[in-house]
Each structure stands twice: as structure tokens, then as C-alpha cells.
Symmetry: C2
């Protein structure tokens, strides 16, 4: 069974000249696979293509990626699909010859992580990271391969009871988890940090914002402080694999799994179990 493809061929290695390795010059997507189908495919590809434009990559052929994705996903009840697209190989130096070069496509399948059911029922413990996110408007929002800030933040703790940490930007505003986005509920409204200077605009974040709209829950992107999180009625984290994890404790603050979190969590869970086209 093929678990990985490099430029369409079964392979588990890559040229050491690849710019993905040398400079992190590329993008990635991490996608839930259910019943052989990558979930929220169009949304993942929209972000990938937006990232490609931001980095000045040649057009990414998402039809080809889809064909290759289906090849490795076939027969997988539940799995994780990771797609990496880099600017390919090039001569030495930062200068890219993008418009003439060939992108590298890597498609990898991994086992589905079995998250504890209590994360969904009771919520998770969230900690505050000291590693901060730097600002760079050119790179904000996209899912590029320069992820040392997340690696450093995730290396701050080893307690297996704490599955996620919250990251602030250099000015001390709340931005996101190391591998997830954050939402808070205040007076029935859903709020999430804007990501104009840093952070990754998660596909699940976008899905939740749209779902909230259809459910007539008010949702806004705004500047959020730590105090906003401490004082929130509800807090939850999201990404494409976990869906939604309510937060039951963040530092000294304790939260119930409130009605808005529960409502959104159930809508996502329902779609995931009942159809092959959900998140």
C-alpha cells in the first residue's frame, strides 16, 4: 500500500537540493481523511493556492494533487493526509527561479491520532506559552514551512495531560494555539483573533466561522488580550483534525463546556460521522 508520493511516484525520500529543506520555501496542508475521502478538500486547496500566490510560486495544479491524494487515501477509514508543496530544487542561494521551476509535491499518509474522548466531553487543559509569534504581514495567515516558532513553543512543556499551548504575538495579544486556532465566547458572541501580522488561518477556523453564521451566532475577528481569554464564558480550540476541543482550564481560569461550544462541536461531529463530505 502506497503511503507516500513524491511528484506522483511512490517514494519516501527527497532531493537534498529541495528548497523546502534549505529555506522552508513552501507550504503544507494537514487534512482529515474519512472513508477514503480527504475532508474540506476545496477549502484546503484554496488556502494552499492563496499561499502559493503570496510566495510567488507557479500555479499549483490541485486536480493533480487530488488524483494523487485519492491514491494514498483509498480504503482508509480514518487517516491524516499531509501535503507539502515546495518551490522545488534550485541552484544555491535565496533567489528563486520560480516561474520556470518545477514545484515539488509530497503526499504522505499517517495514522489517525486517537484523541481522548474526554477532550471533547469535558474539555482540555490549555497552557500559556512564553515563545511569542513575530510579525510578518507577508507570511501571516498562510501555512508555510517556516514553523520554528511553533516548534519552540511546543517544546516548552512535556506534561501529557496538557495537549495544547496558547501563543501570544510580540505585543502580547492572543493569536492561536501551537497547532490550532482559538475562539472565545463572550455574551453569546463568538470571537477569534485577527491574523493580519502572524498566525495561521485554519481551514477549520474558517469552517467554524461560516457555520456560526448559518447558525445565527454572531462571529467577529478582533484583537484579543489574555484578559479576554481569562474572562471568557467559553473557550475552544480548533483545527482540521481535532475539529473543536473545548477548554476546561487555562492557567487559573476554569470554564464549562458552554452551549455555543457544544452546539458547534455537535454540528461538526454529526457531519463527520454521517457523511463523507463534512469537515
Amino acid at each position: 500500500m502506497t503511503r507516500s508520493l513524491v511528484n506522483g511516484k511512490a517514494a519516501d525520500s527527497l532531493s537534498i537540493d529541495d528548497r523546502g529543506l534549505h529555506y522552508g520555501d513552501g507550504l503544507f496542508e494537514t487534512i482529515a481523511v474519512i472513508g477514503g475521502q480527504p475532508q474540506l478538500w476545496d477549502e484546503h486547496m484554496a488556502r494552499l493556492q492563496a499561499g502559493g500566490k503570496r510566495l510567488g510560486l507557479p500555479e499549483i495544479d490541485v486536480t493533480e494533487l487530488y488524483r494523487e491524494a485519492l491514491r494514498v487515501c483509498r480504503g482508509q477509514a480514518r487517516a491524516v493526509l499531509k501535503i507539502i508543496v515546495s518551490r522545488g530544487c534550485a541552484q544555491r542561494g535565496y533567489r528563486a527561479f520560480a516561474q520556470t521551476g518545477e514545484l515539488t509535491r509530497i503526499i504522505m499518509l499517517a495514522d489517525w491520532p486517537e484523541y481522548p474522548q474526554q477532550y471533547y466531553n469535558e474539555g482540555i487543559r490549555l497552557r500559556l506559552c512564553t515563545s511569542r509569534l513575530g510579525w510578518n504581514a507577508q507570511l501571516a495567515g498562510i501555512k508555510h514551512l517556516n514553523r520554528l516558532e511553533q516548534v519552540l513553543a511546543r517544546s516548552e512543556w512535556h506534561d501529557p495531560e496538557i495537549p495544547e499551548g496558547l501563543m501570544l504575538d510580540q505585543s502580547g495579544q492572543v493569536i492561536e494555539g501551537t497547532q490550532s486556532n482559538i475562539f472565545i465566547v463572550r455574551a453569546g458572541c463568538l470571537l477569534t483573533p485577527g491574523l493580519l501580522q502572524c498566525g495561521v488561518a485554519g481551514v477549520m477556523r474558517n469552517y467554524i466561522m461560516n457555520a456560526a453564521c448559518s447558525l445565527r451566532i454572531s462571529v467577529s475577528e478582533m484583537v484579543l488580550s489574555l484578559a479576554d481569554v481569562y474572562d471568557a464564558d467559553e473557550v475552544f480550540m480548533s483545527n482540521s483534525l481535532i475539529g473543536i476541543w473545548p477548554v476546561r482550564r487555562f492557567e487559573a481560569s476554569v470554564y464549562a463546556v458552554g452551549p455555543v461550544s457544544r452546539y458547534l462541536l455537535n454540528s461538526i461531529a454529526a457531519i463527520r460521522q454521517l457523511t463523507g463530505d463534512g469537515p
Copy 2:
């Protein structure tokens, strides 16, 4: 002839699971090779090890790296050696299991770039990049694999007459070139930007600062504005391969190759030609 080694074995490919690719989770050094010998080896290794500490990597075995470097450098009159050290392969997710994991060592040889002699005699044209450097004190100074800011800056121009661009940080202060450090001369004193929030502390930058001291030229790290560069008596760029390139023109400003640049340039050139141990 072996041009590349991966973990000590002749190879030109790498596992697609490597964290260097997935997150840019590693470091690199670009080293001038003269007469089969990597130049400023100890200085490069000191920076590599400092970077490893910053990223929380296991101890880097520089003796092993030296042995491997000599293998690929043997018989090379002039060449470029690139060393990449990544946190190796790991399971999915940002979390690193560094202390137990095996680092990946990649050693690659490339041809020496034949820079035009006029860059040294008359100086180069330098342009101002619009891409800015974000702040992150944890990552500042070290030569890590997250280099999208440099890639974006270098993609801003295609004029082959302009070999380098100057980058500012997010607050508009002068930091460095896309692949070099900057020095200015003002009233006989050598000044270069401090690199506490961003930038790469070049091995040649350090060498020049020490050389200036021994030559009794005053040298300081400080905050430099664009106006400081425009109004400087002399400006030059440095890195391990080029040594020193005087700047003859930066935007509307024109500079002579002044006495301090010339003096430092000649000292470096002399060492490079006369011994195998110079910069």
C-alpha cells in the same frame, strides 16, 4: 567524487519525514573552501552549536562534521561547503523528542561562485527591499532553516547588475542584506546593526569586527536608520563567501570605496590568498 553526504553516507536524498523539511527545524552553515580546507571552521561550528542550544537540539558532534567535511572538500581548490543539521525524523506534530532523537547531518559541496572582480574594486549596487524582517529574539542571530523572509526579499528584483538588497526590520531600522551583513563607516568608525530581534550574525561579520579591533579601528553594534546608511562615508556588505563587497551606490546615494573598506578588504584578501587558514 563524493559531493554530498547524508549522515556520513554518500547520498543525494533525504527522508520525507525529516523535520528540516516539515518545519525548517534545523540550522545551516555556508563555508568557503580553499585548498581543500573549510575556512573559519571553528567560528562556523561555534555559531552552529550556539544555534543548536537555542533550538534545544542534542549536542552537535563537530569532530564528526569536520571529518565528513574534509571528505567532500579533499582536492577542492575553491568550493562552497554547505552543512545542514536538522532535528531529524520524528512522528507527526511540532513536538520534538530532541534529546533522544538523532540529528540529520547533510554535507554538500557546490562550485565556487566567480563574483566579478569589479564588485571588489569598484563596489556593488545595493537596493532597498520592501520585504521586512519580523522580530523574534529567540531566533535572532542564528542561522536556522526558516528563511522565507530572505526568499521573498530576494524575489523582489531581477536586475543582474544588482547583486544584493538591504532589508529593514518591521520598525524600519536597517538590519542586513538578504545574504550578507552591512557595515557603515562614519567619521572613521565602523558601525553595524545589532541583531537582538532579527538578522543573522554572520561569521564574517564577527571576523571583521575582531579584525577591526586589532587594526585599532573603532567598531560598534548599534541601531542604524536608513538615513545613517544614506549619509555614511563608506558602506560595505560581508559574508563568508564574498568576504567584503564595498557598496558604490545605494538608491540615490553614491559612495567611494573608502580607506576603511579598502584596508579590511585587503587584509581579508591577503589572508585568503596566502594561507589556508584565513577567512
